[in-house]
Amino acid sequence: MKRLFIIAATVLVALACTKEQSYTDPCTFEISVSKVKSSKVWFSIKPSNPNAYYAYGVFSELADDIYNLPVMDLAKMNLGWWVDAYKIWEESQENIGTFADVYCYQGDREIKQTGLGMGLEHRLFVVQLDPKTRTIIGTPQDVHFTTKSVEMLPLKFDLEFGADRLTITPSDLSATYYWDYDNADQIGRTYITPQIFFYSIVDLYEDYDFMPNMISKGKETYVFSQNDKSLEEGERCTLVLAGYANGEINSDSAVYEFVYHKDKPIEFTPYSDGEE
């Protein structure tokens, strides 16, 4: 019986392994950076062979201990991280794809990478992989780019909450800014911090070239019941505001919590994550 189990287990392992794709003919890549902002980069990767699997990584100069490594060493180190991380994911995540699903691409791709540091030199490398054996094929290639610097404004916001309404007065009335709010529990469940919620929303609108519609300037009064029919009496929300100009967030964000009331003044407090 024990032997049968071993055979069955071996068959299962073999099946699991065969799920991963394999392609080993080496190819080259055409890497082209098309647009750079303070925290994002857009680039295209065109492999000479559309069947080749490849992955990419981006490092900033802040990672000074590895930033100047030879590209093959950088790729090897990353591959080690990917393999280790995938093993953890495989055990902890539901419905995880194959190694290739998670890390690899095939064919021509236009990719946007977010979360970069402002005004820093970055190195983007592309490495061909065989997902089945998780080994490097050929020689990795890399390009350098520098993220934009943005002059940060010392923008502050004066908030005045009344019943069913909010008036925002920025410290610089000529400055443009973006603000948003959502259910506090929802944000807490979905995002690590309210700032990440904010950056995600801004990123979404930028992706759809819709940000110009969302920008405020000067003093703004917002009546909740006229604009947001989903808001409920007593609902606790998180509010985030920050300067925004020329396609970039250009001030520190201000975060508040408020409890919505239609017929009495809305209570609000600066956001606290509960840590001293």
């Binding site: 794809g97 977010t114 992706d207």
Partner: protein, 403 residues
Amino acid sequence: MKKYIILLAISFLGASCVKPPVEFVDFETFKVTSVKSTDVAMADGTVNPEVQFMESEDPETKVAVTSVARLVSDLLGAINSNNVIHVSGTYTGHDIDGTPITLSGKLLVPRDGKIKNMVIVSHYTIGANYECPSECFPMEGLVAAKGYAVVVADYIGFGVTANRVHPYMHVESTARSVVDMALAVKPYLEKIGRKPESDKVILMGYSQGGSTTLAVMRMIQKEYSDVLPIQKVYCGGGPYDLAATYDKAMADDVTGIPCAIPMILQGVNVGQDLGLDYADFFQPRLLENYDEWINSKRYTVNQMNRLMGAKALHELMTDAGRDKNNPTTARFYKALLYNSVLDFQPKSPIYMFHSREDQTVPFVNAQRAETFFKGYNIDFDFGDYGVHSMGAIRFIMHVAIEL
């Protein structure tokens, strides 16, 4: 939420979805209104002409006939029961505002043999009420012959609620109609002794149904994962990213499905109570006639498209309606963002199908889905599979063969 927003978080973060509060309803409410039995295949081996397939984009071209014949011959090789029982019925579901409402739909089960799983179908875009699942033999019902209980809700606006505007592409209410029916049918199947062997459900939908299927998956994962555990999801040709679909249509100044314009505008306007004035969006001829063309539920999609008489957007929509930076249109566009369905982590395997040649639901939707769902266990089947209706046949074939 300040402005209706969807949180299309790119990382593997959780999902967010604003929805109205949902009142408790008793789901053991499935009431049978009619029962009939239908053979899937005729004596000569052809498919029963009663089966309602998606209309071809060009009604003059019988392009789908060969494929349909193949589908049936493939299916016939594996069916458990050539005879399928159709049970039309009503159930208590939720209205757009979350209050209880009586809705309708159809359950299809094989006449003989055991039932393996419940297949929860979200149907594709229809126009005429006679096309709604409770009134016909929907094409997805074919898989019932392979030993499945196929549940197809009519959605609000069809069947017993045909007098209502259909909240087309308002994903929350549409998905909830589908989930509510599955919850209502589950105890009914047990009561009639046809309980599936597995509690796991299979989700399936093409076109509008593809998008709704992902919304159903998201809803079940969030609210009903204990009672409706998902085995696998099949979605095809879906407008998963409505904002990207709008952008593509506006850039090309053309749409493959003109009737979707008034349907989407009405659907999200009603679904989210936006208070939009259609005069800001529709050209005069459409404004004058949309209620008859769309809301009478007398015309199929092809008929509505013919009545509208144009595919160029500038002939159907005002300049302001085609400009998302117009303040009024911006409100509509935000609603499109809100009604996209890619903002969650799929916890079950998905088969996602899309033809690159699809002009009705552009391929950009599949590309967006691939980007958002990268890393999950998803079988992306993208290829040059012909026009939208041809894709529907290929999709159904794939599901029927795999099940």
